[in-house]
Amino acid sequence: MMQIIRLLKTLNSDAAPSSIALAICLALFIGLTPVFSAHNLIIVLIALLFRIHLGTFILASFGFSLVGLAFEPLLERFGYFLLTNDAMTSFWTALYNTQLGRLSLFNYSTQLGGLCISLVAFVPLLLVLIWGIKSYRIRIKAWAEKSKLIVILRSSSLFQLYEKTGGAS
């Protein structure tokens, strides 16, 4: 419940759509690949260094972790397919013989599957999200604020408590 309220708050805030979209897209990496991976360190650095909506980033990371858990067998199979694809063997071999390649642990099927899906989905998802957030703010925001669901949510004791603690900005 809190997460939904928080997401709505973010969407309704003045935060730049690209900041929110980028946060969600970066969270894709955290969620779909094992957390303690070298590339996730870079993702966290990007999230902290650039003006990306951190709340959304953390929230989306949890969300995508659940997605990653549900789709782990598929990610594993996709990664395995890539690693054992004859056409790519020379590329993987070259990468395997670099220190960066070894430290990245790319040669693990789930790790590579999640990473590749995240990379492939990054740009399209970013564009879709930016367009979606903008569209939401123009077309749905005013209607949503007046909707019964939002009114009920806003009037709930939980939301009051949330606002008192400064959770909503």
């Binding site: 094992p34 360190l41 966290v44 650095l45 999230a47 902290l48 260094l49 650039f50 003006r51 990610l75 594993e76 990664g79 395995y80 690693l83 054992t84 063997t89 993987w92 071999t93 395997y96 013989n97 220190q99 070894r102 430290l103 642990l105 040669n107 693990y108 099927s109 789930t110 790790q111 590579l112 599957g113």
Partner: protein, 577 residues
């Protein structure tokens, strides 16, 4: 417009990294100790205890204290115990995900120490091929009297030499009689002798026709001719007598031999049912086989423990993409051609030193080039260890395990152990019918394993060995007594075959001699009864033919006739002189 970069974010990132690093450094020793306990236990299949670990990033070293590894085959004993273990790590190799340790110094290593608590785990060794030497050991009761056959059947089936010799004798006697009778016919007959008598009378009666001188000359000439003829016949008789005598002697000798032939038949048949050389050899295996088998099996088992570690990645061809067999949270690990000239795990040098406690096995020495991928390292695994123990005066183990080229793997193992106290090895001889209770044994072993083919020779030299038997047994009692009388004796074990199907052969000229004496002594009663019955059966078969042997009367008669002829001729000759 806001800056696209958040400096505070960078600070937070650095703070997070610093926090994680600090946590890791604070708890690193705990993590390492915990990891080693867990991984070690999983690898060994029994509990691995570790007192503490101390990582030093500055000197790139790791120090472990109070490491105890449970013997997976005996949960209340440690395989080994180390007071302190110092490792010098090659940090540059870690960037390649490889663990290379330049040097390990093991201080106060003790083997086979007792544990206060059980170190058993659920996981058991599954890759160790159990091998039972001497599967077909002959039961002691199977050797000896139980195998003696029924004398009646034995004689009936046997081709008795006595019967054959009787037939031969008969044939030869007949042939000799025919031959000599024929020759006798060629000798001067009674008519010839009568003619000589007549000629003598005629010469004596000759007057000479009035001329006395002419008469004397004519008589002399006739006498001479008569004497010549008689002498010629006498010579014939003499030659024949010689021949007859020779034939009589030969046949007489055969006749005497025939009388003793049943005894020879007895000896021959009895010898077929005495213990063969194989039987004696089996006896050595039966008495000492289980014991030697246990010792050999122990060595074989240790070798098998080592091999999977050494050849962990050896089965994979580095030129091909390999898939690991295990799943982790990161999924399946795929290995590609590794161009980095380092094995995944390598310990270049291990130095071991022990405290001479006198209570446990202490070891000093070095092990070099211990790696999971010998094909990726340019030196073979070598070890040179020496030590002593409460039950052992000294030992030296040296080995070169060269698996750099799996297809041409070559292992050479040499062991020289002096003064093993036999009383401490009674447990190892649990399956043996005879257990050592005192004395010493020296072991000199040389085993080569070339391309999975075993060729080993182990010499066990027992000195002043005393044995005990748990269940009274006439065989073992005699062997035990016999062994006690030997100052030293040697058993040689020859190991051959493949690693999958090894076989060992035990031999001992000393014990063979002893066994034969024991068998002879033990079987004397059984053999005596058997011998009496066998002799009776042989006699029954041979007495008839022997009592019906043809006489040599014909030859005697010929002898008499010859004597008479000779006498007559000599009489005439005497008158003719």
């Amino acid at each position: 417009m806001k800056m696209p970069i958040r400096i505070s974010g960078l600070m937070v990132f650095i703070a997070i990294i610093a926090l994680f690093s600090a946590i890791y450094l604070i708890f690193a020793n705990h993590f390492i100790a915990s990891g080693l306990r867990t991984t070690g236990s999983e690898l060994i299949g029994a509990k691995v205890d570790l007192g503490s670990a101390d990582l030093s990033l500055g000197s790139q070293s790791l120090s472990l204290e109070q490491l105890a590894v449970t013997n997976p085959k005996s949960a209340m004993n440690n395989l080994f115990e180390v007071e302190k273990l110092a490792l010098d790590i090659d940090a540059s190799a870690l960037a390649w995900n490889k663990v290379v340790i330049d040097k390990i110094e093991i201080s106060e290593l003790l083997l086979n120490t007792p544990r206060a608590t059980s170190g058993a785990m659920d996981r058991q060794w599954t890759n160790v091929q159990e091998w039972t030497p001497f599967e077909n050991i002959q039961d002691l009761s199977a050797i000896g009297a139980d195998k003696l056959p029924d004398p009646k059947q034995l004689v009936a089936a046997a081709d008795l030499q006595t019967i054959r010799a009787i037939d031969d004798f008969k044939a030869q006697l007949k042939e000799t009689e025919t031959e000599l009778s024929s020759q006798y016919e060629q000798l001067p007959s009674k008519e010839i002798i009568d003619q000589y008598q007549a000629r003598l009378k005629q010469v004596l009666d000759k007057s000479g026709g009035g001329n006395k001188l002419l008469g004397m000359l004519s008589k002399g000439k006739d006498f001479k001719a008569l004497r010549k003829d008689i002498k010629t016949d006498l010579n014939k008789i003499k030659r024949f007598k010689t021949e007859l005598k020779s034939a009589q002697e030969q046949l007489g000798s055969q006749f005497k031999t025939l009388k003793n032939m049943p005894k020879q038949d007895l000896a021959r048949l009895k010898s077929q049912y005495s213990l063969s050389g194989d039987g004696v050899s089996n006896l050595v295996s039966t008495v000492f086989g289980p014991q030697i088998g246990q010792w050999t099996q122990q060595g074989y088992r240790y070798y098998q423990y080592l091999m999977p570690i050494i050849d962990q990645y050896q089965s994979s061809d580095n030129s091909e993409v390999q898939e690991s067999q295990f799943l982790t949270e990161r999924g399946r690990r795929i290995l590609f051609q590794d161009n980095v000239p380092l094995p995944n795990y390598l310990v270049k040098h291990i130095k071991i030193s022990s405290a001479n406690s006198g209570e446990h096995i202490s070891i000093d020495g070095v092990v070099n080039n211990l790696t999971t991928e010998p094909n990726r390292w340019n030196e073979p695994l070598t070890l040179d260890l020496s030590g002593k123990a409460k039950f052992l005066n000294s030992f030296n183990l040296s080995a070169t395990l060269d698996h750099r080229n799996q297809a041409q793997s070559k292992d050479e193992i040499r062991l020289n152990a002096a003064g093993l106290k036999l009383s401490d090895f009674a447990d190892l001889a649990a399956d043996s019918p005879i257990k050592p209770s005192a004395g010493l044994v020296d072991i000199i072993a040389s085993v080569n394993v070339i391309q999975e083919q075993l060729d080993g020779k182990v010499s066990l030299v027992f000195q002043k060995a005393e044995f005990q038997i748990e269940q009274p047994d006439k065989w073992l009692s005699l062997i035990k007594t016999g062994l006690s009388g030997l100052e030293t004796f040697k058993i040689e074990v020859h190991i051959t075959g493949s690693m999958q199907n090894p076989s060992i052969k035990v031999s001992s000229p000393d014990l063979n001699k002893l066994s034969q004496q024991v068998i002879k002594s033990l079987m004397s009663t059984e053999l005596k009864g058997f011998e009496d019955k066998l002799m009776a059966e042989i006699k029954q078969s041979t007495d008839g033919p022997l009592s019906n042997l043809p006489s040599m009367d014909l030859l005697s008669q010929l002898q008499t006739k010859l004597n008479l002829k000779e006498l007559d001729l000599n009489k005439i000759l005497k008158k003719a002189n």
